[in-house]
Amino acid sequence: MTLKDIALLNLRRRKAKAAFLLAGLLIGVTTVVALMSLVETMKEDITNKLDKFGANILIVPKTENLSLTYGGLSLGGVSFEMEEILESQLAKISTIRNAANVAALGPVALGVVQVGDKKVLLSGVDFEATRVLKPWWKVQGEMPGSDQVILGSEAAENLGLTMGDRFTASGRDLTVTGVIAATGSQDDQIIFTPLATAQGMLGMEGRVSMAEVAALCKDCPIDDMVSQISDVVPGGKVMGIQSVVKGRMETLAHFQRLTLSVSAVVVLVGSLVVLVTMMGSVRERTREIGIFRAIGFRRSHVIRIVLLEAALVSAVAGLLGYFGGLGTTMAALPFFTESADISVSFSPAMAGTAILFSVLLGLLASTYPALLAAKLDPNDALRAL
């Protein structure tokens, strides 16, 4: 028989007390795990949404005029005195401090071309970068090569062109290799061609109209990156597209602070339950502790018995609390996010942390009762019978 056996046998005998102790810790751990999981899952959800945004930094030429368009309606405000963005400047983006956060850089050459009797916007892009920048594109057909184009759905309809058709624009023969399924954006009205083809047609060799950057956003300092890109692209106005995400992140941060406060209160209450229960247990066992001390147990042995009991119950509470918290999160998640593809899964690391946290909490709250038990004078304890 060992000290651990005594602790186990005592817990088995005092089932109601052990259950009360377990319940106190269980509620605490379940609440903390549920709130933490919920926040983590929502963070993940927002990060996923952020990634689906595609480009989150725009580089446009600097202009001294204000745009006169609103809601897609142009009121005739054309920007003059625009500075140009040079391709050579864009290349320097690979040298900025946070270059590792740049997932894709997509230069765009924009211009109007004449197709038959209609004027259409031509966009020269890097189709490799476009895969990252516009992940929502669904192209029926193939991506274009030199002197080839893909059409936005409305542009294809208006121009009466379909896959395999050939047409002439600005004196250049072009072949349609695909059509982009409707996106609900301005892309539906545009002809897309490789950057070099568009630059040749628009007389923009070495220059671009704008550029889109997809920065890996989880933990990436968007504001810093905007500033770093501004430094290497002096002709460009660099803007971070993050207002919506930032707003949601701020809301989440408020929620996280609330979560921490609620967790702290629940943990405090749980600790008090453990403290009071263990104090009661020590008082109940005055005689027993007196016997232990009389037959040669050191004070440290008594402390170990009390702490072992607390640790055993706390470990079970940690494990059950983790699964309880996980279940609570699963049940609560639909009320916090509309995303169907977001889910909570078992995390061994978080389960381990929950158990460790529970054991530490149990031990901390039981330290005073354990010291109290150890301080009991064996003679007084036996005389108190």
Binding site: L3, L9, N10, G296, F297, R299, H301
Partner: protein, 246 residues
């Protein structure tokens, strides 16, 4: 030098007007292998004296030595070790742990000893066998009689073969037949070489001892020595004080 020596032991409880002088300067010597009974009326100080001999109750004054070790000059943990190594306790109210089986109760003094569980269990079963309970090792204290519980208390006290056994009214709660059995058991242990010090108010139980120390009002009043079977020599030590709380 004797195996156990008490020099002018004093124990006071409380202070000022509430001061109680439980033990007021008791001195004696006990040789190894002796069987000594300490007798006295309730409140005479005999249990306080036993607790001081058990390294459980620090005296207000005086010295208590066992095997030339000044017990109260030791630290608390050293005194705990001393109790484990040198002493076996038999309490009046048995003091068994209700949720442990008889074998587990007897194993308690071995819990902090480094040994295999199987060896500890064998020692506990052997001790229970010696007190005649070898067939009840898996029972709980509530499942046996009072006399059997006292036997378990004796088994627990002797499981680690301590040189000294301290017994506090071991027959106080037992009928005369069971008391006789327990005293027979203590005599047998004494015959095997164990030093036994027993506090009792029962003359019948005290007959088992070779020496009887009588205490009244916190002082040792007289001493009886068994010279041979049924022949005892009495020597008066000190008259009791009139008012012990004065």
């Amino acid at each position: 030098m004797s195996y156990i020596t008490a020099e002018n032991l004093v124990k006071h409880y409380g202070t000022g007007e509430g001061l109680v002088q439980a033990v007021r300067g008791i001195s004696f010597e006990i040789e190894e292998g002796e069987f000594v009974a300490v007798m006295g009326e309730s409140g005479s100080g005999k249990s306080t004296l036993l607790s001081m001999m058990g390294a459980l109750n620090t005296p207000t004054g005086g010295i208590f030595r066992v095997d030339d070790i000044d017990i109260y000059s030791l630290s608390r943990d050293q005194r705990a070790d001393f109790r484990r190594e040198f002493l076996g306790f038999v309490f009046q109210s048995f003091n068994l742990i209700p949720y442990l089986t008889l074998a587990e109760n007897v194993m308690l003094p071995l819990v902090t000893v480094k040994a295999k569980s199987s060896a500890k269990r064998a020692m506990a079963e052997e001790a229970l066998h010696r007190v005649g309970l070898g067939d009840k090792v898996t029972r709980l204290p509530s499942q046996i009689s009072g006399g059997e519980q006292e036997r378990v208390a004796v088994a627990r006290a002797i499981v680690n073969n301590p040189p000294i056994l301290l017994a506090d009214e071991p027959t106080g709660n037992l009928d005369s037949k069971t008391s006789g059995d327990i005293m027979g058991l203590l005599k047998k242990l004494n015959a095997e070489g164990m030093t036994i010090i027993m506090v009792t108010h029962s003359n019948e139980s005290a007959q088992a001892a070779r020496r009887v120390l009588r205490i009244a009002d916190g002082v040792l009043t007289d001493e009886e020595r068994l010279i041979c079977e049924a022949v005892r020599v009495r020597s008066v030590k000190q008259a009791p004080a009139v008012d012990k709380s004065a």
